[in-house]
Symmetry: C2
Subunit: 237 residues, 2 copies
DNA sequence: TGAATAGTGTCTTTCAGACAGTATTAG
DNA sequence: CTAATACTGTCTGAAAGACACTATTCA
């Protein structure tokens, strides 16, 4: 349209990571303190620009994930959350950012990042509190990511990603209770979760201890899409 | 990391549109014939590059939508489907494409595009048939878009977007039947759809004619998220 | 022993699906 | 009238939620 001399603009492309985990019975997100302008000193999602014109987006996300957490490829599933590309979102110029969602199993240690001495787990409710200011449009990305995680618990086996390779049904129930911010009946949950084919599988006759009677251990099953879905109470009606 | 002289790469950004509608009891998608290389002569999704560094992504999508269909802003809802940015997807160089999903009401006329004498409605099953070749990775985008539309029918009021401002419950049912490719019991659907609060509202005492008894007219209700959701049969168990 | 958590059985309510039957139009 | 579609009523089976009960551990 118009003259032949028009040339489409090129823009910078970044990837940002929403890394969620469960700590202290809270949904927490990994945030870094920015060491450079803009937003120096503010909290932000870990991320960065593409390394080269040949780097795939998902590869860039996995590279950032490895840099921040030490976890690499096939240990953590990355889901594309969306693109954030409003013209004014980065004061340095036009940058569009592709956000990825990652879930990490509950870990007792702080972060254990490689070059991430400036990274912390922050409860999402605190990260989203009015007094916390996040760089760029990362507050909106975080809001969208929490909502995505909540939704994914219903229809996918995402919840098991919050647990280790072995877990009890109580631990799995805590994932739902924390992310959805509700209480679930342990007995109904117990049977419900086992009735979904392929969701979880018994993991040997082993057991585990905590406070009362030892619980059976399970591992994630083969199914990614849950059918029938886990129904979120309070959403109905 | 590394030297200070490293400069992140800039890439071209495109928007591509998945425009769906219902025609002849089929889910159809608007495709254009490419007039230039690469993929000259092949079918492709309508789309194009950002106009300028200051253009917002959604604005670019709406601009393309207006160019292809004449429909503008607030007439059609656009949902971001995702980013497609594999390094080799465009032979011209690195291009990442943001795909948007749009639903248009059923229209009797062909296309009525402005500059789109080379645009056609194609049934999705034909566009996805092995003998049809689509440019770039547009086949994958189409696959993802169809799946997104199917999923959205369950949890959102997207189905009403396929209808005009007034519709009968039979027309709404046809949307579900076509997109999900199933048959639904008209009587159960009739009550189910009215029991979801805010989904549809009676639109005056008016009526409409087709073949048998005239049907009441409805209009879209205020709710975007459906609760309880419409359940897709065949998905359960 | 009691406290705490794991796991089972069972009842009730709710809702999706099946389907008979009535209402209103065109021909 | 018949054919066709719109709409209503009712039954049934499956699943969600409530909750009593038993099992197994620790202190």
């Amino acid at each position: 349209m118009g003259t032949d001399s028009w040339i489409p603009p090129k823009v910078l492309v970044a990837v940002d990571l929403l890394i969620f985990t469960l700590r202290a019975s809270q949904l927490q997100v990994l945030l870094v303190e920015r060491g450079v302008e803009p937003f120096r000193g503010a909290l932000a999602l870990p991320g960065g620009f593409l390394n080269s014109s040949e780097e795939d987006l998902i590869d860039a996300a996995q590279r950032e994930l490895a840099e921040e957490t030490g976890l690499s490829w096939d240990q953590v599933r990355l889901d594309q959350l969306g693109v954030y590309g409003a013209p004014g979102r980065d004061p340095r110029g036009r940058v569009i950012s592709v956000a990825y969602l990652a879930i990490m199993p509950r870990l007792p240690e702080p972060v254990a990042g490689t070059d991430a001495a400036d990274a912390w787990w922050i409860p999402t409710h605190r990260a989203l509190a009015p007094e916390t200011s996040l760089a760029f449009d990362h507050r909106q990305i975080l809001i969208d990511g929490v909502e995505r995680a909540r939704s994914q618990l219903e229809h996918s086996a995402l919840a098991t990603a919050f647990c280790g390779p072995m877990f009890t049904i109580s631990e799995l129930r805590e994932v739902y209770e924390v992310v959805w911010d509700i209480r679930l009946d342990p007995r109904n949950f117990y049977r419900k979760v086992q009735s979904v084919p392929g969701f979880i599988e018994p993991a040997g006759p082993s057991r585990k201890t905590d406070k009362g009677r030892p619980a059976r251990l399970f591992r994630p099953g083969p199914r990614q899409a849950l059918d029938p879905p886990m129904t979120r109470p309070g959403e109905r009606r």
